[in-house]
């Protein structure tokens, strides 16, 4: 009722991908949990001008409370699962594809809304004018992925997503479909069969990444169309494809604040911003920090089945831990030898896991063995050499470093790959000296 009566219409740039509208009081989307409407303060007339309250007047259960404030909840928990997902690559960054300038260039997310029967066009696949059905559609793969200028990794989901789009376009319209790809990556159960099905349905696959999408026609046939200029790498020729509609299959990116998230939860992330797992193959849902787990795209691009599997695995892992009376911990820990500790507290602030506390009574630092991850930072930092790591004596570590930096008869390091190329000369000189 409140959403029906609210007089303020707002462009929904989140769920409707900028193609549809919502009210200033709205439920984020139909399947939202909890399914309670929220008020968008920035756009609500009441917050702007102090009058309106239409929603309040019509609410039968008196549920509208204009004085509600954001609340920050502090919870004590033993385990955390990070499932913060991804951001979509902003296709505006690739100006050569004209997104935002050429009306009939759409992003994958926009197309999802277009093809959804509950979406802004009730599932009619139409051009930006809202009425015309396209007679030809081009789907561009790898927009912002596998691209040195943007993200060099493969976003994993776009090939299958693009094939799905082709299928939907075929189902809803009579359009000819072109897929522009670098490589088709359809590994997965039933995936390649789907690819073959789209080919049988008549999808045209062009191997090449479009250089440009333009509305500048060179021939009368191109008039009024969007033209994709592409090097067809199978034919070895430059080709031009005039189409009515283009869908950009944008890649996946880490959330904009992914690095801040990593710092806050004491986990590490790659240079791109994807969270790093404890072990990429053998423990892909745990992190190096005990009790912090990752599921889904926070640790890298992945499709729905993989995300669901990770989510379930992480939940099961946490449930198992909650029900345990005892915990198995890694055996590698650091210990403070109290008789050598001067009580300088340097190690207290160095510990990335907050496992070291200061014992005021005895004037020494002590390590909480349940929290210690055995990283060795405090061992190296202690000026008195009062902390040792179990299984790693200083002599062992130093011997390993020496082995790594060993120089052969030719004066060159034997294991050059062990350290960055930029430092080869420097390190070799230091070792020789």
């Amino acid at each position: 009722m409140c959403q029906e009566k609210c007089p303020k219409k707002v462009l929904d740039e989140v769920f409707e991908a900028g193609l549809g509208y919502r009210k200033a009081i709205y439920t984020p989307f139909d399947q939202a949990v909890p399914r309670t409407p929220v008020i968008d303060r920035a756009n609500c007339t009441y917050y702007e001008k102090g009058t309106c309250k239409a929603c309040e007047k019509f609410c039968e259960t008196n549920a509208i409370d204009f004085n509600q404030e954001d609340k920050i909840l502090t919870l004590q928990v033993g385990n955390i699962i990070l499932a913060t997902g991804y951001d979509l690559f902003d296709a505006r960054k690739m100006q050569q594809y004209g997104y935002g300038r050429l009306p009939n260039v759409f992003t994958s997310l926009e197309f999802e809304r277009l093809s959804n029967s509950a979406g802004p066009t009730n599932g009619h696949i139409v051009l930006r004018d809202g009425v015309t059905e396209p007679r030809s559609v081009a789907i561009v793969h790898c927009v912002g992925s596998r691209d040195k200028n943007h993200n060099s990794y493969c976003s994993a989901i776009c090939c299958m997503q693009s094939l799905k789009f082709a299928h939907l376009v075929k189902e809803h319209t009579e359009a000819t479909i072109y897929e522009f790809y670098i490589d088709m990556r359809t590994a997965g159960k039933g995936y390649d069969e789907f690819y073959q099905r789209i080919m049988e349905e008549g999808g045209i696959f062009v191997r090449g990444k479009p250089a440009e999408i333009t509305d500048v026609a060179r021939t009368p046939e191109e008039e009024g169309k969007l033209i994709l200029q592409v090097e067809d790498t199978l034919v070895g020729q430059q080709r031009r494809f005039p189409v009515d509609m283009v869908i950009l299959s944008s890649g996946l990116e880490p959330r904009a604040d992914a690095k801040e998230l990593a710092v806050r939860f004491g986990i590490s992330c790659s240079f791109d911003g994807w969270a790093i797992e404890k072990h990429p193959k053998l423990d892909p849902i745990a992190t190096m920090t005990e009790g912090v787990y990752v599921a889904g795209c926070v640790s890298g691009p992945k499709d729905i089945p993989a995300s669901v599997a990770q989510g379930a695995a992480a939940a099961a892992r946490v449930l198992g831990r909650i029900q345990q009376k005892q915990m198995n911990l890694e055996p590698i820990k650091a210990t403070v030898h109290a008789e050598h500790c001067s009580g300088c507290r340097i190690c207290n602030t160095m510990c990335p896991y907050n496992a070291i506390s200061f014992d005021d009574v005895n004037g020494v630092s002590s390590i909480n063995a349940a929290m210690c991850q055995g990283c060795g930072t405090c061992v190296a930092a202690c000026p008195a050499g009062a902390i040792s790591g179990s299984g790693f004596s200083d002599e062992q570590v130093l011997a390993q470093i020496e082995g790594l930096l060993r120089v052969g008869a030719d004066g060159l390091a034997l294991r050059r790959s062990a350290y960055p190329e930029t430092h080869h000369d420097e390190i070799e000189e230091a070792v020789r000296a």
Partner: protein, 333 residues
């Protein structure tokens, strides 16, 4: 007054005379001065570097060495011609990147008692200096005769926003730098997606069919987008589109008459200079008539625009889907 070192290059003396004349006309209103470097030589244009690298780079570096020697402070070296800008910037960049080239070039320079350390002097293009140092506010403040209603197609050519080794331009495919500048003069800038396409370069000499086709595309698109004039930053683009338009028309049996002027010419005219004094009229496809007519109509158009109720954009069809919102840097003021 901010002073810059200035490398004119050959075209400013010849085919691009109107560029030089108009540049002189905009310095004072913008509060900048240019000091021509002494005894400069050819920049190698587009040919020499592809024939023989060391002599070409040595020849270009001679200009850099002279400029570095004449510098009083940290002022950069400004070139108005895109080819000169690119060659000077490229030489500085490659000398810094390739120690072997640096040694060979400096060996050659040494014969003339000169030396140049890459990175000493910053090479910049006039357009970028006006946008980033002078700023659009100052440009707007200097406008006395706004070019209201003058429909122009902004055309940069290939050598200004790319390769952009210093990252001075944010956008290399569809840069809006020249658009913003022309808009500040009051002009009506049309969306011209071919702004960084090739003007044909020296194809007009070696393969006229190719060169003339490239020119045809540019001119045809400007006309299709209802521009009455093209505006460029590059003497090479200007001469190609201007001087070869007749030949192009003959080849394709077309009748295009699209004048092309330098952006500084429109700036000078908007700042109050007589079109003739800004070099307008030197083109083969004369721009004077169009420009004078536009100047005459401009005050009335401006008045009408000011008097009319705030312009309501034609209401889009209710069924139409909204366009994506652009981020702030892409939105033009």
């Amino acid at each position: 007054m901010t002073n810059y070192l200035y490398y004119p290059g050959c075209s400013m003396e010849g085919s691009g005379r109107s560029y030089r004349e108009s540049l002189e006309g905009i310095c004072e209103p913008l509060g900048i001065t240019f000091e021509e470097i002494d005894d400069w030589n050819c920049c190698g244009a587009t040919e020499y570097v592809s024939l023989s690298t060391t002599p070409a780079y040595a020849m270009i570096a001679r200009n850099l060495a002279i400029a570095a020697g004449e510098r009083k402070g940290t002022e950069p070296l400004v070139a108005a011609c895109s080819a000169c800008y690119l060659n000077l910037a490229k030489t500085d960049h490659y000398m810094g990147q390739q120690p072997a080239l640096n040694a060979r070039v400096n060996d050659a320079l040494g014969a003339g008692g000169l030396h140049y350390d890459p990175g000493t002097i910053k090479v910049r293009h006039l357009l970028e200096v006006i946008l980033n140092d002078v700023g659009l506010d100052r440009v707007k403040a200097a406008v006395k005769k706004p070019l209201t209603g003058l429909k122009v197609a902004p055309y940069l050519g290939c050598m200004v926003p790319r390769p952009d080794v210093d990252g001075a331009y944010t956008n290399h495919e569809q840069p809006n730098d020249l658009d913003r500048l022309l808009r500040a003069l009051g002009a009506d800038v049309v969306d011209y997606p071919l702004k960084t396409e090739c003007c044909g370069g020296h194809m007009t000499q070696v393969a006229p069919k190719v060169g003339l086709e490239l020119i045809r595309r540019l001119v045809a698109e400007a006309e299709r987008r209802e521009a009455v004039m093209m505006v460029t930053v590059c003497p090479m683009c200007q001469i190609n589109i201007d001087a070869y338009q007749g030949e192009m028309n003959a080849m394709f049996h077309t009748h295009y008459k699209m004048p092309i002027v330098f952006f500084t010419q429109l700036m000078a005219v908007a700042f109050g200079l007589e079109p003739g004094k800004a070099g307008v009229g030197r083109e083969y496809t004369n721009a004077k008539k169009t420009l004078v007519a536009a100047l005459k109509a401009a005050p009335e158009l401006a008045l009408a625009a000011a008097g009319a109720a705030p312009a309501h954009k034609p209401r889009p069809d209710k069924r139409a889907l909204p366009m994506p919102r652009m981020t702030d840097s892409e939105v033009e003021e």
